[in-house]
Amino acid sequence: MQIIRQPKVHDVCIVGSGAGGGMAAKVLCEAGADVVMLEAGPMWDAAKDSKMSAWPYDSPRRGAAMPSKPFGEFDGCLGGWDIDGEPYTQADGSTFDWFRGRMLGGRTNHWGRISLRMGPDDFRRRSLDGLGDDWPIGYDDIKPYYDKLDRLVGIFGSIENLPNEPDGVFLPPPKPRCYELLIKQAADALKITCVANRLSILTRPLNGRPACHYCGQCGRGCATHSNFSSPSVLLPPALATGKLRIVTGAMAREVLTDAAGLATGVSYVNKADRRDYAVRARIVVLAASACETARLLLNSTSGRFPDGLANSSGAVGRNLTDSTGLGVSGHIPKMEHGVAHNEDGASGAHLYMPWWLDNGKLDFPRGYHIELGGGRRMPGFGVLGAIQRFNGVGGYGRSLKDDYRRFYGATVNFAGRGEMIPNPDTYCEIDPNVVDAYGIPVLRFHAKFSDHEVLQAKHMQETFRELIHTMGGTPLTAMPTREQNYGLENVGRIIHEVGTTRMGSDPATSVLNANCQAHDVKNLFVADGGPFVSNAHKNCTWTILALAMRTAEHIALSRNQGTL
């Protein structure tokens, strides 16, 4: 195949513009590096492209989901579970759902801004319970980066001194909504810890960005850049150095290497003309998302690396986990006929419940946290659906119309996000028969939960139902059975997949060293969720960002010292 090679040799090529790629670009450009960044999607600018303040009636679709917008048409993330021309496949009996962002900033345009640090125990789980593996680094290694991250990006929260839930450098948290206080009453009665949430949304102006204006629509993209996304916070300072070139519509095909086995750049398909190009770089940083990075490495085969690049351990694609997740909603009679007021607040809950129990007294390892929702949200597609769950019968006419008014806002939701332990049956590999529309071999997923996750799900269900009952309410769904995995969402559904290029001190069992540098290729680094050794219930973005900052500073320092 003819590849259009560009003569310039950049200091660094970064694949991906999301959390990891954006952070690496910022740190490296500010350190003086000349960086080229490949992004598979288009440019997107929240200041003009966001549907932040749209009303449902601004569209005939009323905010309903579309294939290209699975979280609703006003959502700020381009991409989804199914992308035209970019399939993935499932091994027999497996169901893995893979959400991909395809836009500047990737999935930082999607997430709930829940920004939790991993705690000291999370880095040494094998030592504590014998399952999975320890990380080659500990909390003390990453703490300074979490601190810098908090100051750079901005995060609200409260100092709690909880075990294994480290406090950060917090902006003041917003006051809870009234129904959140009602939830907290129930949590207190059940001795479940319930504290201020930790979200990367500004409650005070920071580093030139204004404070939140409390429209509650972070998911649509913030036109004032008051929450975190890579294009709002990380890419502008990188671009301001004049050192960053972003190539959009660039679908990476493989990492190129030379006879010495070093990375020399990345080849990609330009989606606009469908031709192959190559950029050259002295250092390659992969931040394409845990699974895309694994795919890229596994597709980068050569005589020297027949099983894919940086894969002498065979660990690329293995160790794949997502967060466990499920949700339960409840009808709370006390919230009926609510007082009209604006409780949009910051997007997402103002309170959350960190893990609060001792596994020694439970039938499953590890833990989960609880995310809250409910109240008087902006009406959207599906609003007040299945009214028979509230009034028992459905009905029609004037009394039904009054019922809709009565029950609007009288709902709370609890969602669990827990730790899945890596298992040998959950991984991704190259499908030997299927390519995408650019001719790039696609991933095939294997996915399976163990009893650890299923029993944790049962505990979530029981806890959420108990909370709803304690509030005097009724769960809106029946308790799922063991055969239904107690309502566990498919692996991948929580969009916290990590671990496919894990770090470790032993090159025989890990892909990267403690600096997220490939054991096999010293000028190749990974800066997304791939390096995670385990997947604490802490929602991975904050740790991806902190690790990427640490990795990029290591690269800059090594270049300065001439060791790279």
Partner: protein, 211 residues
């Protein structure tokens, strides 16, 4: 290489103005660097104005329903959500147009909708010898009294009850996402809030909670 500190600085290391930053970023993502609260509010208003101007004014043209189906839909949605003292009816809120649009936008709904309306006519014929639109108000209500309640245990009506539940859900979405419906629910958000001060006393008192 040099590891610089955070923040938006130009090559001389001095803090950049928003104008400088924007000029630099025109080829890439345009991010505002030094927004004030007033500027942010202004941006919010501009976005709202741009949206208002983009409102389609043309009369909606039916694309999925037949004329007979559309007439049936109009009658049915107003039986579900009628006009009352607080707000108008489902047809006044544009629910039939919304439903027609959704049938095209989400084609997976088409068969159940078309079949459900046919079933409604069949049941009406059986009971009063007329299709639903031709029945009297009393006859229509008599039929709805059978199929609008999920508590009705009659196994012979399970399909009609399932159709009606789904139709009621779509009616509710159509109505309560309209401008009229949003106002009816007293949803008062989606506005610029300079400082979040929590929920008002009346709302706290109603739930028996305090700050």
């Amino acid at each position: 290489m040099r590891i610089a500190g955070c923040g938006m600085r130009n090559k001389n290391g001095t803090r950049m103005s928003r104008r400088q930053a924007l000029a630099l970023l025109t080829a890439g993502p345009v991010a505002a660097m030094t927004w004030t609260s007033a500027e942010a509010e202004q941006a919010h208003e501009h976005a709202a104005q741009a949206r208002a101007q983009a409102q389609p004014s043309a009369v909606y043209k039916r694309r999925f329903f037949t004329a007979h189906e559309y007439a049936t839909v109009g009658v049915l949605v107003d039986l579900i959500i009628p006009r009352d003292e607080r707000s108008g009816s489902a047809t006044e809120a544009g629910v039939p147009e919304f439903m027609d649009f959704m049938m095209i936008d989400q084609p997976r709904r088409q068969v159940a909708m078309r079949g459900g309306l046919a079933l409604l006519d069949k049941l009406s014929q059986d009971r009063c010898g007329k299709r639903f639109v031709s029945a009297t108000d009393r006859e229509r209500r008599a039929l709805l009294d059978e199929i609008a309640y999920t508590s009705n245990p009659d196994p012979g009506l399970s399909h009609a009850i399932a159709f009606f539940s789904s139709f009621r859900d779509l009616t509710a979405t159509g109505f309560f996402t309209s401008k009229m419906g949003v106002a009816d629910l007293h949803y008062v958000g989606n506005v610029f809030v300079d400082e979040w001060t929590g929920c008002p006393d009346a709302a706290l008192k109603k739930l028996g909670v305090t700050y």
